[in-house]
Each structure stands twice: as structure tokens, then as C-alpha cells.
Amino acid sequence: MKLSLLLFAIGLLMVLLQTTFLHFFPLVPDLILVLCVYWGLHHPTVGAVLASFVLGYSVDVVSSPILGINAFAMSLVFLAVYFSSRSIWLHNHLVSAVVVLLASLVKGVALVLVSAIFLSTEGFWMGALRYILLEALVAALLAPFVFALLRRGQTYLEKVQIPGLYY
């Protein structure tokens, strides 16, 4: 639970990055999704599920026209990654990139479907496909680096052995 809280703090930092510094890029990389996939693959706990939900919700609070839309997408992504992680026996950069790519596609499709139901935005479908693919590719490209950083941070924490950090 404490590790989930720590990872949740990293998640909030990623929300901050996405709303400020990363906005200078033409396409904002979805670091929150990459983090949720990391949780789904390496820390499938109830705390991580809740953290994914809350991070999605925080994106909704600062960005979305309707509350709950990203919270829904992130929870769905976590569920999909959790089920897929049970079939993955190999953990390397390529596999993590592929999982992130698929997770991003799941998120994109979920967002389009929910937008169609709750927002009924005209012409949303046509432009959405390009965004889904671009976002998925960027997230997949970034995934190995973010995973490596998170893993390094985790290894460092394990070495430091902060009392009571792990259950």
C-alpha cells in the first residue's frame, strides 16, 4: 500500500508534467498510461487499481469536459493489462512497448466509445483514429525508458530498505 502511495505520488508528478512542461511538444506523451501499465504488469495490487483510477480522475479534473472519462479508461486499461500480464512470461523492452501500445489502443477506443455515448461530439470519430495511433506509438516508444527509470528507482528503494515501505 505504501509503495502504491509512492507510485501514486510519481503519477501526480506525471500529471503535472503533462499539464505544464510536456505541453511544448506537438503531442503530449501519455506518461500516466505508461505508469498504469507498469503497475498492471509489475504491481498488480488493489492500491495500484485505485491509484490508476484516481490518476485518470485527476486528468479529468484538469482537462476533460466530462468527469470520469479518463478514470474509466485507466481502470479499463489496468484490467486489460492485468489479464494480459498473466499470459506474459517474458519481460523485456520490446514486450513492455507492445503491451503499452495495446493498452494505449484500448484507452483510445474506450475514450472514443464513451465520448460517443456521453458527449455525442460531431466528427469525433474521424479525427480520433489518427490520435489513437499517434498516442499509442509515442507511448510505446517511451515505455522502455519510463519502465527502466521506474525499475531503477524501485531497485534503489529496495537497496535502501526504508523501514515499513514494503508489506
Binding site: V28, S64, L67
Partner: protein, 277 residues
């Protein structure tokens, strides 16, 4: 029973979160979500960090400019170079203050021309998602900002307030696919709706094929949507296309305000009830 829950705790908690988010979406779409307990807490957590990040970005920009200006003095000795850098940084701060002062003067001048009182606000963060075009401003209910108020600059329309917290507010930009602003073509008075689209950028919708709209035509708010005052600049027509089928023309628009270059905005109410701060 307990063993079942323990075995499937992760899928079950995921399902719970999915159902909860569906409930939140439904309630929000119906306008029944009045007291959201998590949103203000998250904003309370994120807002100071966003303000700090915004200040850091401005500082880095200033530093970068100072370095560029100081590049011509590379031949000077180290002590003088440091001194120049310090002076340049100071000068940059003054220039920045002057630029902000000028922006505020423009806003003040613009505000005096508006029938309704306005609230001056700074943009502190942008959208975290590529799907929605929004930004956050540093004024909220405590400053008199209310949901549905319009956000403008002297150059034109920025967007509309869609969510308000005590010390910040979320603004849906006119470039968002979910936005819709009732506008008219200044030259011909033909009316339509300006909205964002993921495909063509910002578009002018529902203009009949028979209407005369040309590239370069200026679009202004009609004031009929009850959100924006009449006569505010929205954008300029950049492309007009008449498809072989369909009732309406396909018109692309260049927004009058570029968010990338906007720092200070004015929040106004079309009804003129807002309290000036």
C-alpha cells in the same frame, strides 16, 4: 465467499472502479454531480505544483533569453560576463514586468469597453490529454468565477469556464471538439457555430451552401448563445469547401487567439453580473 473476493480482488476492484466512473460520467452528464469530494482535493494537491511549474517555465524562458542576449559578450573576461549575465537577467525581469504591465493595460482598456465587469486571470496549466483542449486559470469561485462564464482576451475569444473550484477554474477552449460558439460572419451576417474538430482544427459549422463566405472573412460572436458578448472576435476563415453532397459548407477557421502565446485572460459574464476583482 471471502476466499473468492481475495482471489479475484484485483479484477473486482477494477470492475468497481469502472462502474464508479460510469456512474460519475452519467451523473456529470446529467448535471447531478454537485458535490464532488475528490476533484477539489486533487486540485488542491496539483494547483500549487502547477503554479510552481508555471513560474519555473517562465524563469527558464527568461534565463534562456538572457543567455541569448549575453552571447555577444563571450570574449569578455569571466567576471564581466557574470556581471553582464546578472544585469541581463535583471533587465529581462524588468522587460517581462513591462510586457506584463502592457498586457494588463491592454486588458484594462479592453475591459473598459465591455458592458460586463471582468475578472483578470492567468493561465497556469494546459490540458493533460491530447483529446480535449482545455486550460486551467488561477481564479475560482472565491474570485467570482462561475461555470459558464466566457474567457476572452483583447484579441478575441479563448473559451468558456466549464468547471470551477475555489481557487482555480477549468476552461474549455474554442478549439475543443465539444465546444460550440454561436458566431456570425462580420461581412455577410451569416450565422453558424464555431467548434474544434480532431480532423480539421477549428471549423465553422452549419453554414448553408447558398451563403456567401470567403477566405479572410472575420467571424464574431453573435451574442445569442448567452455565454459570449456580441461582437467579440473569434477567428478568420482560412478555407471554404463545398462538397458535392451535403447541406452545408465545410469551413476551416484560424482562431484569433493563440493559446500558446496567451498568459493573461479576462473572465466575463454575458449577463454582466460578475464581480470585478
Amino acid at each position: 465467499m471471502l476466499a473468492f473476493f481475495r482471489k479475484y480482488q484485483i479484477p473486482l476492484s477494477c470492475c468497481f472502479c469502472i462502474v464508479l466512473s460510469l456512474y460519475i460520467m452519467t451523473a456529470a452528464a446529467r448535471g447531478q454531480l454537485k458535490n464532488d469530494p475528490i476533484g477539489p482535493l486533487l486540485l488542491w494537491l496539483i494547483r500549487p505544483l502547477q503554479i510552481a511549474a508555471h513560474s519555473t517555465t517562465s524563469w527558464i524562458k527568461g534565463l534562456q533569453e538572457s543567455h541569448l542576449t549575453a552571447a555577444g559578450y563571450k570574449a569578455e573576461n569571466e567576471r564581466l560576463r557574470k556581471r553582464i549575465l546578472e544585469l541581463e537577467m535583471e533587465r529581462n525581469r524588468f522587460l517581462e514586468a513591462e510586457a506584463t504591465n502592457q498586457q494588463l493595460r491592454h486588458l484594462l482598456d479592453f475591459r473598459s469597453h465591455l458592458p460586463a465587469a471582468g475578472i483578470t486571470a492567468s493561465i497556469i496549466a494546459n490540458s493533460a490529454s491530447n483529446w480535449f483542449q482545455s486550460c486551467s486559470i488561477d481564479k475560482g469561485t472565491a474570485d467570482g468565477v462561475r461555470k459558464g462564464m466566457s474567457v476572452v482576451t483583447p484579441l478575441g475569444v479563448v473559451g468558456r469556464v466549464v468547471d470551477v473550484a475555489a481557487r482555480s477554474a477549468k476552461v474549455l477552449l474554442l478549439t475543443d471538439p465539444n465546444s460550440g460558439i454561436d458566431v456570425m460572419v462580420q461581412r455577410t451576417r451569416a450565422r453558424g457555430i464555431v467548434s474544434g474538430s480532431l480532423e480539421n482544427g477549428t471549423v465553422l459549422k452549419y453554414i448553408k451552401r447558398t451563403e456567401d463566405v470567403q477566405v479572410g472573412d472575420r467571424l464574431i460572436t453573435s451574442g445569442l448563445d448567452g455565454v459570449f458578448l456580441k461582437g467579440l472576435m473569434v477567428g478568420t476563415v482560412t478555407k471554404v469547401r463545398k462538397e458535392s453532397l451535403g447541406l452545408f459548407q465545410v469551413i476551416e477557421v484560424m482562431p484569433a487567439v493563440s493559446l500558446a502565446r496567451t498568459e493573461i485572460v479576462l473572465v466575463v459574464s454575458a449577463e454582466g453580473r460578475s464581480a470585478a476583482k
